[in-house]
């Protein structure tokens, strides 16, 4: 159980009780000592007082002993007084049973009849005067007195405890306010949190929370914009599909129907490609993916082989220039999409009979992927804009989604690689992707 409140309360109250206990015990000890000394002193004072007031004559001593009437051996008084003559004869005792035995001069403690006694004995001429009281009696008196002392102390401790408990509660109240404010929030409410006069300790927490909310809000807005853009972009391809299907339904001429079916299939292909690209772009916006070692040479070969039907359909001359292997750290699926998008673009934009070349090079600092084509290229003024989502060089024509290059750039950024556009020696576009080492691992020639 990990609780600030509990921590504070337990330790503060423990400290309070401990201090209270220790100081009580010490005070008790000191007071008892003082009390005993004072009592001893009283014994002496009484003894001397008896001497000063004079004692009765010897002849009256025994009658004095006889006339003393005490029913309680412990006496109603606090002490017992006794008188002996020089011969050791008890002349007077305030107890019926004669009282404790005669001690030597001075203060003594002894056991008599199962009790502890304190006595003070004075020898004055022929007489020995002794004043004594029981330890138990002393204790009783002391306890009665001390109650008057420790009851107020206990009350004070109780009040202090209550005060501590209440103050801790008050001090921690802002945490509870914060908790309530947060738990009442709807999921969509990403506005900044505000507490009325927050304590200094909570300010950094609040600031950090609000910073987080701002980031989440920005991410959510970006996502909403993307969804809206995606839905918008999908309308035209879907319109084409709908119309193509409807006119197919209305057409009776089989030759024409055949052509319309082909049109419809192209329309479906375009819509599918757009959806694939949209999904990938959405994934890129979301979580980061784990990185492993990826051999770019193998990846390029795989992509080119996969796209070879398209390449052959356009009669392109193509090839891959690469070392035996070139490894970088990255997300395999993402890198595959990057290479695939670049090669796919090159194929689409290169006219029939043109050229397509993919190259991988390694030096001490970098791994570079280059895709060259002999198509129309991209004019320098447009080279900045082509990275934008949904930007198309020839809107309306072809099956492009406008997302290909923006996805390439996003994947490159995730891998800390740079992408650049240039004019290709083949006459068309050159796209170069540069991965810095130590992102690149092993290589071999």
């Amino acid at each position: 159980m990990n609780s600030i409140r509990r921590h504070l309360l337990v330790w503060q109250l423990a400290a309070l009780l401990l201090t209270g206990l220790v100081s009580t015990l010490v005070a008790y000890g000191v007071a008892w000592e003082t009390f005993n000394r004072q009592r001893d002193d009283s014994l002496a004072q009484i003894a001397y007082s008896i001497i000063r007031h004079g004692t009765t004559s010897d002849t009256d001593a025994s009658s004095a002993a006889a006339t003393e009437d005490t029913s309680d051996p412990a006496d109603q008084g606090d002490f017992v007084s006794q008188l002996w003559d020089a011969r050791g004869q008890l002349l007077y005792a305030s107890l019926t049973n004669g009282g404790p035995p005669r001690q030597g001069a001075g203060l003594h403690t002894f056991t008599w009849h199962g009790q502890f006694w304190h006595s003070f004995t004075v020898i004055d001429g022929d007489l020995t005067i002794q004043v004594a009281n029981t330890h138990e009696r002393r204790g009783d008196v002391f306890r009665t007195l001390s109650v008057n002392a420790w009851i107020p102390l206990a009350v004070m401790i109780a009040l202090l405890s209550a005060a501590i408990w209440w103050l801790v509660r008050r001090a921690l109240a802002p945490l509870q306010t914060l908790q309530q404010a947060l738990s009442q929030r709807q999921a969509a409410d990403l506005n900044a949190l505000a507490l009325v006069r927050p304590p200094d300790e909570l300010l950094p927490v609040l600031d950090a929370l609000n910073g987080l909310l701002v980031r989440v809000q920005a991410a959510m807005q970006a996502q909403q914009r993307f969804i809206a853009d995606a839905a918008h972009e999908l309308r035209t391809p879907l319109t084409a599909l709908r119309l193509q299907a409807q006119i197919l339904g209305d057409e009776t001429d089989p030759l024409v129907r055949g052509r319309l079916v082909q049109e419809l299939l192209s329309g479906v292909a375009r819509a599918s490609r757009l959806i694939d690209q949209l999904l990938k772009a959405a994934q890129l916006d979301a979580a980061a993916t784990p990185h492993t070692a990826v051999d770019l040479v193998g990846l390029c070969q795989e992509v080119l082989i996969g796209l070879s039907p398209m390449i052959d359909a356009k009669g392109l001359a193509w090839g891959l220039d690469a070392p035996a292997s070139a490894t970088v750290n990255g997300d395999l699926a993402g890198l595959r999409m990057l290479v695939s998008n670049l090669v796919d673009n090159a194929i689409r934009y290169t006219p029939v009979g043109g050229q397509l070349n993919v190259a991988l090079t390694i030096d001490i600092e970098h791994v570079q992927l280059t895709v060259d084509d002999s198509g129309p290229g991209i004019a320098p003024p447009l080279r900045e804009r082509v990275w934008d989502r949904f930007f198309r060089l020839h809107p309306g024509a072809g099956e492009g989604s406008g997302l290909g290059l923006s996805i390439v750039r996003q994947i490159a950024e995730q891998h800390r690689a740079q992408v650049s556009l240039d004019t290709s020696p083949l006459g068309g576009l050159r796209v170069a992707v540069l991965w810095p080492l130590p992102a690149a691992a092993t290589h071999a020639h």
Partner: protein
Amino acid sequence: MKLLLIEDDDMVGRATRHGLLHAHYAVDWVRNLRLASQACTQQRYDAMVLDLGLPDGDGLAWLRQQRQTGNAAPTIVVTARDAIPDRVNGLNSGADDYLPKPFDMAELVARISAIMRRHHGQASTHMAIGDLQLDLSARSVRVAGQEVTLSAREFALLECLASKPGAVWSKAKLESSLYGWGQEIASNALEVHIHHLRKKLGAPRIVNIRGVGFQLKTLP
């Protein structure tokens, strides 16, 4: 009836043109506003279908400009932007109707027909010229109560002649109303259609004004 289709997407344009031809309209298809302006200076269209996502400018601004320079052709605006402000903006810019994407071919055709009707001040889909009754949606005609079967071209020709009662149409005007770009017209195709129409409708309804053109006469 000749339409101008202004649409930049290849597939949507091809499919729309096909569907409109199938609905017996003649269609000229342009892919951007520059070509659209050119086409509008070369001839008057009976209606326009304007897609707003064009690469070379804002379709609504172009439409407003066209309205100012006297192009009153009834226009349907077609677009992926479907919010209320977009619709209001479209209609306020001079559009006669607004159709969001994706749309049905049948709905497009029906709405084009509706805006053209309205443009000609006709409340219903029926047109009566004397004892001729044209059903524009069924594309059929009754002569003095008797149903007469016409081919698509013949009906289109009749519809043209009947659209402005008493008006005289030159051969060139009739041809441009019946045929779009990319459709081959034999040099005497129009005369052949006129001939067939005269035969089917009986009586000297279609008059050839020498040197000027053709006129549909209203017979009681």
